[in-house]
């Protein structure tokens, strides 16, 4: 079980309301990702769920029980911190066993659980080392091990991969996804990286200044973003926004076109501009095109290699049914 319901919760630090009233339903076994720019309140929201911060108002329900006043240890949730928060003076074995020891479980059962967790996480050879003697990825796994042995109702991750290098991040992303497949426990995962959100989530919650902008599956957010913020945040490279004469043609205040939904041509197309920069990655080519009446260069993504260089004139055509229209409140027009 691991069903969490947030009911009109708010959080203020002094006079500053970081989380305005917020409702959210997280179902059992779901992998939910909170994503949003830095400082938007993701960690605060996670810490409210964990019980490390008290809500200013509203209720938190875990598995149908009102947990608003329940202390963190009794909520049955396990958290993996961004800094890993391992206990530096304890061996890996003792770190993983710590929650069991606090729960007063006997030594033999502790050892068995630690061994099982270590096996899943490939830590068996490192059990007698101190955290200081491990690499970043291994420390991360120890932190996850310490969470697993508690058999929590839900796992909470706060930007767990942000201290790892790029290659390791991809690996750990897969490992955490696999862990979710095998445990089928609810996971709430906080990140500012939309790629992590898109690749791992069953359900993405996009936060902006403490407000939920949209909740949905990765592809829902990609195909039908509710507003301009979500449209710009989800997808990489970012969606291009065009206003003025480009938008009026489509009866909108702003239109958005993703870089992958623009086709390029040397001779003819809907819009015309000049190539500012072209980036050749082999599999893809990114063109940054300056157009009259558009402030930022328009990004275009083409597969394979195309022969455009700096200064070339280029014609762009958006795929007709992939144009997102936004009204003057930045909401999407269906």
């Amino acid at each position: 079980m691991g069903q969490i319901t947030l009911n009109q919760i708010t959080k203020s630090f002094g006079d500053v309301q970081v989380i305005p009233p917020l409702d959210l339903q997280i179902d059992d076994g779901e992998f939910v990702v909170f994503v949003g720019p830095s400082g938007c309140g993701k960690s605060t929201l996670l810490r409210l769920i964990a019980g490390l911060e008290d809500v200013s108002s509203g209720d938190i329900n875990i598995d149908g029980r009102n947990a608003t006043e329940v202390p963190p240890a009794k909520r049955g949730l396990a958290m993996v911190f961004q800094s890993y928060a391992l206990y530096p003076h304890m061996s890996v074995r003792k770190n993983i066993a710590f929650p069991l020891r606090m729960a007063g479980i006997d030594k033999a059962a502790q050892d068995a659980k630690v061994a099982a967790a270590a096996k899943v996480l490939n830590l068996t050879d490192y059990l007698d080392r101190r955290p200081g003697q491990l690499s970043g990825g291994q420390r991360q796994r120890v932190a996850i091990g310490r969470a697993i042995v508690r058999e929590p109702a839900a796992f909470l991750f706060d930007e767990p991969l942000s201290n790892l290098d790029a290659a390791l991040r991809v690996n750990m992303r897969l490992e955490i996804s696999e862990l979710h497949q095998s445990l089928k426990t609810t996971m709430i995962y906080v990140t500012h990286d939309q790629v992590e959100a898109m690749t791992m989530a069953d359900k993405i919650v996009v936060l902006h200044a403490g407000r939920i902008e949209q909740v949905g599956s990765p592809l829902e957010l990609y195909h039908t973003p509710r507003n301009k913020f979500v449209a710009g945040f989800i997808g990489s490279p970012k969606m291009n926004f065009l206003s003025g004469r480009f938008a009026t043609e489509f009866d909108a205040a702003t239109i958005g076109v993703r870089p992958e939904h623009l086709t390029v041509s040397h001779s003819d197309g809907k819009w015309v501009g000049k190539v500012a920069v072209s980036e050749h990655l082999g599999s893809d080519t990114f063109l940054y095109v300056d157009m009259d009446g558009v402030d930022e260069p328009v990004t275009v993504r083409s597969t394979g290699e195309i022969g455009f260089r700096h200064g070339d004139t280029v014609h762009l055509t958006p795929t007709a049914d992939k144009i997102h229209r936004f009204d003057n409140q930045d909401l999407r027009i269906a």
């Binding site: 202390p71 240890a73 949730l77 958290m79 928060a85 003076h89 304890m90 710590f98």
Partner: protein
Amino acid sequence: MATQHSRAAARLMISPAVLLLLGWMIIPLSMTLYFSFLRYNLLIPGMEEWTGWTNYEFFLTDPAFFAALTNTLLLVGGVLLITIIGGVLLALLLDQPFWGQGIVRILVIAPFFVMPTVSALVWKNMFMNPVNGLFAYFAKFLGLQPFDFLSHAPLFSIILIVAWQWLPFATLILLTALQSLDSEQLEAAEMDGANFLNRFVFIMVPHLARSITVVILIQTIFLLSVFAEILVTTNGGPGYASTNLTYLIYAQSLLQFDVGGGSAGGVVAIILANIVAIFLMRMIGKNLEA
């Protein structure tokens, strides 16, 4: 080449300082050693003569020596115990957010700035005095017989006075150490089901171990040579009840005018201090590594 040159230059540059420090240490040490083998009494000047180990024999077989040795160890141990336990508790308290934190922290450090003689006299006359002291006043208020601290529990009283002086030092070092503890570790432990006592024992104390080591080492160095507090309160008495090694050497050299015997005591004290230092390093030095 360059590094060899600069290394030689560096040695040359620091040599005056090293020589000065060496002389500073070597000259008094060798004079003490030299005097300790002389029959040298200030009352009969000009009659110094070589006596071999006699001074040591007298000093080491003197019952006062064993009393002083025990008192020294009790004094050091007692003050360490009080300052470390008290320091940890005060640090825990001061680490909590409360109104007027800045002022309270300054007040806590204040005793450290009071001269040892002054604080000992304040304690002696204003707190522990059996007639006018605050403690006597409280005892009378409660209908009890006032306790004459300095004559009935002289060593304990001195331990109390010295501990009061060193408590701020321990508190300050332990407080900074406590503040450097990653709050996420405590939160992780809290989520892992550790109550405050468990967090204290399993997370905070190990984190403080290194600072406690530093406090023990630094304080021991200073506590082995406590002198002023004894001089202005009990004069080492009654009998030898509050005489430590430092005070005994003073008494030998300057009250009994026996410079030779005092110097022998000084050499013994140096050896003992080194034994304590080695012992301490062995016992807790590993906390300082890594």
